[in-house]
Symmetry: C2
Subunit: 222 residues, 2 copies
Amino acid sequence: MPQPSAPRRAPGRPPRISREEVIEAARRIVAEEGVDRLTMRRLATEIGSTPMALYHHVRNKEELLVLLLDDYTERTLRRPELPAEPRERIVVAASTIHEALAACPWIVEVLTADDLMSTAALWFVEQIVDGLVVCGLSPERAVQGYRAIWYYTAGEIVVRTSAARRRTGDDRPTYREQVFAALDPGDLPRLAQVADRWAPLTAEDTYRDGLRALVDGLLTPR
Amino acid sequence: MPQPSAPRRAPGRPPRISREEVIEAARRIVAEEGVDRLTMRRLATEIGSTPMALYHHVRNKEELLVLLLDDYTERTLRRPELPAEPRERIVVAASTIHEALAACPWIVEVLTADDLMSTAALWFVEQIVDGLVVCGLSPERAVQGYRAIWYYTAGEIVVRTSAARRRTGDDRPTYREQVFAALDPGDLPRLAQVADRWAPLTAEDTYRDGLRALVDGLLTPR
DNA sequence: ACCTGAACACCGTTCAAGT
DNA sequence: ACCTGAACACCGTTCAAGT
């Protein structure tokens, strides 16, 4: 995270809380109670201060969430040994990002961005872009390839975590279940054919399979 | 949309507002003022009623949003002539869904689901699954292939529309710009190499290119 | 420079009562 | 059956003042 300003020790009231302390408290709240409970007011009481004090350390709530994601990736995304073979390197790099994000469902609130990739994640982006270039893509095509991978990855996370959120604490049939139960086999024969297997099929984790397909497709000359 | 109950005309006070009226008013607000302005209170005043009257016609705000998406797809997603060639049929079907959703950015609030596909969109899903089966995939693999396409599509929409939201009314450098400006070319050479072209590159619409790559990859025997 | 208190302008939803 | 009024339990953020 680029620091917004050097810590000029100058006249004025000495700070009682720091940006780090704010982020740490926010992390604690999110870990123990979920993102929904992370409010400026709740955060203020958590650190024994007032809502407005927070605004001296973060611009607003959105920035707080970005900082939180950055903090999270910084402490969980370790640079692993990657395979030398470039195609496999791409798959492992993307999967590592995916795994880290999948493990923190609150990410969805923040994730929806193309310029929100944290500093810690950039090394993985580098590996993906480089892998694509080594396989013969131009730098421009490689960036576009990375973006396709990012769309796929972000989409998987967003769709899966919000599906999970919807499942909890509700035994009414889902909207999809209602729709699938009323499916017209004459109009939609393929869907009718798999209707009863849809739930288990969509519950399977097929991220890597789809990722491999996408990477293969990106590397197939056309 | 499966109706929750038949319209039993029975004793009791005659209804003054209908579910359709509620949805119509909601559509109007979203179209003219954006999703952010769609609140139960605002909606109530729009139809000249009280917030609580709405809860007799929709379960809660989430259901309202789902109904709104269903309504939207119902009136915009027309079944087009699709190419006979299955691979091309898949691409056109997915692109049609993508185009419809891309044109209504408020979708992001609702979209984040795997079981939220509206009835009107199911025909397109059928075409995609069928296309994949015709190309030789098993029904199970075809469903998984469709899901990969849906992840990619949803991800593109979510990432792009929230990037757009962030751009509006703010001339400060974005977080990404700050990060890219401070990039270490020794550590991340590929990213440093394209750093100055990143913005225009990510602004390009490459949905179809990525989609074709994904479909090609899904259909490549492995 | 940093923090506080009070206020502004809102939310979604529940409850009890009315017609 | 459908609608209303009042209330509950909150939000993020601004402003003016204090230390």
